[in-house]
Symmetry: C2
């Protein structure tokens, strides 16, 4: 349904300035002034720092054309929050730049419902943004709080640290392969493929895990958006270290193994992006404090250790592993 008579301001109010998303009460958002002025305004508690991350998602590049708007809104915010998780930050608020080819009330309703679902779950209000006409594109800036100087960075890994990951890896890559084979969430009768697709569309930002790891003394962290090897390499380069990992230890889901076989599953776990699990390093002596899982759906698996061979990832036989990080161009 195209509603030509609804202007930009009315549109913003109806779907993005509504109390359900614009007035979510976070732990540190009392006194915040959000949508409705030239700027959003807020202060942050003494001793805390603001952590910010901006992600842009383009139709046909980062998500399929004509995808489900609820899933799109959900995934866009969840994916952005994953960067806060990697820093060990607590969500504070977010802004949205939304470019739309036309105004469809139904699309906006479902998109804002997906966005609101995640915003409410993690208690971060939408405090500002911009809606414009053009090819479907989302820019989300999420912001969180972290005690001053204590954010998890990419640059703190030390030789001898253990390398670990949260959750299972490769599920989203398995889902994409299923989609390319013609399956869709709607017509897919196979519970395993349904599970993989849910992992792609409804990723869980590992926010509580990130905060736990920050307090537990993890030395570095990154979220796995582009593939384990490529993202781990960012840690290695920032820290001036190398890595030895045991691919056979990589955690893969039952659904992925069943659908693609364990060998393919391991390849997807090594190189597939879009799972938004965390990869982190932790001193060996602290590893005993790590529980086997942080929650029912968040196992923690040690997959290797940090070496002194700057920027190189080898397997346990010493063979270099090649990244296939996702680049857009």
């Amino acid at each position: 349904m195209i509603i030509g008579a609804v202007g930009e301001f009315e549109l913003i109010k109806r779907y993005f300035a509504c109390p359900e998303i614009a007035q979510i009460q976070g732990q540190h958002t009392s006194g915040l002034r959000g949508i409705g002025d030239d700027c959003a305004l807020f202060d942050i508690p003494v001793g805390m720092q603001l952590a910010q991350s901006l992600d842009t998602l383009v139709e046909g590049v980062h998500f399929p054309v004509h995808c489900d708007p609820f899933a799109l809104g959900y995934r866009a915010l969840a994916v952005s929050l994953s960067d806060l998780a990697a820093a060990g930050a607590e969500p504070h608020s977010f802004t949205l730049g939304l470019t739309l080819p036309s105004i469809s009330e139904l699309w906006l309703k479902e998109f804002s419902e997906g966005l609101t679902h995640v915003a409410q779950k993690f208690r971060l209000p939408l405090i500002g943004g911009d809606t414009t006409k053009g090819p479907l594109t989302l820019s989300l800036q999420v912001q969180g709080l972290v005690p001053k100087g204590q954010a998890l960075l990419r640059s703190g890994a030390k030789v001898g640290d253990l390398i670990c990951v949260t959750g299972t890896l490769g599920d989203a890559a398995g889902a994409l392969r299923a989609v390319m084979a013609g399956d869709t969430p709607e017509d897919c009768g196979d519970a395993h493929i349904k599970y993989l697709l849910s992992r792609y569309w409804y990723p869980v930002p590992r926010l509580s895990a990130g905060q736990w790891l920050r307090q537990a003394g993890a030395t570095s962290a990154i979220d796995i958006s582009d593939g384990l090897i490529g993202d781990l390499r960012h840690i290695l380069e920032a820290s001036g270290v190398g890595a030895e990992i045991a691919p056979e230890l990589l955690p893969t889901s039952f659904a992925l193994n069943q659908n693609h076989g364990r060998d393919n599953a391991l390849t997807m776990a090594l190189t597939g992006g879009d799972d938004y699990e965390l990869c982190f390093t932790i001193p060996r002596e602290l590893a005993q404090t790590l529980p086997a899982k942080l929650s029912d759906d968040c196992p923690i698996t040690c997959i290797g250790q940090v070496t002194d061979e700057t920027g190189i990832v080898r397997d346990s036989q010493g063979i270099p592993l090649i990244e296939k990080a996702y680049t857009h161009f």
Copy 2:
């Protein structure tokens, strides 16, 4: 020049993580961690609030197809900063979401030079962002600092306050009319049209004026992006008041008057957007503290007063003035 082999990460480093733009030292950005981690990190001084604004600009909607990349980078950041000016905030930092159809090194070089020019002038570092492939779109989030609870808002105008504007109005509208008539900055021999085009492409965010007005006791402010009447109406609605303005008092430039005649110039000043001057209200008793100009290029002109007729703008004869605020849909 299309460079297919240059990946996303290299591209970011070369043009946006360079010291010229990523390491600009602002007044309050010591200790900031910017590009290179999952999140940018910073704290803000005790007693200050963060003011944020997000703008999205789409090729063919907000700026012409194939426009000069230096001018685009310059204008995009200047326009975004105008929102901080309206809040009376001091620039702190900004983030950039850049969507590009392909990588052209020349384009990127010139675009980043335009962006850097403004960033250096107003001392705000680029602290994070995202580059993606897709239709040319920019999302800029600027952030500034303002003493807690002292930001200029839209909601503080009181009956009897004077209504004032900075600079001259209608120049950008005059420039757009010239462009539509086929003139371009390159081939335009007429100094007046050149001036109008420079006002469109190189707007001056009224940052020092905004900070001055905040300290001087202005009761509300907005930047004029969509047209004086439409933007003034945002103040009126937020404040629950009305306005009487004298169109004949509107400040228009010599160049605009010469090119379009004073009558057309006044229409452009009333309804044309894109000048990014400030419209503000100030108690009558404080108006005597207002200088005639805040700098050589920033005259201040009183154009009317606040009335009790909520949301209505009338001229001095009592005739309602109709807004033509810009909406994209």
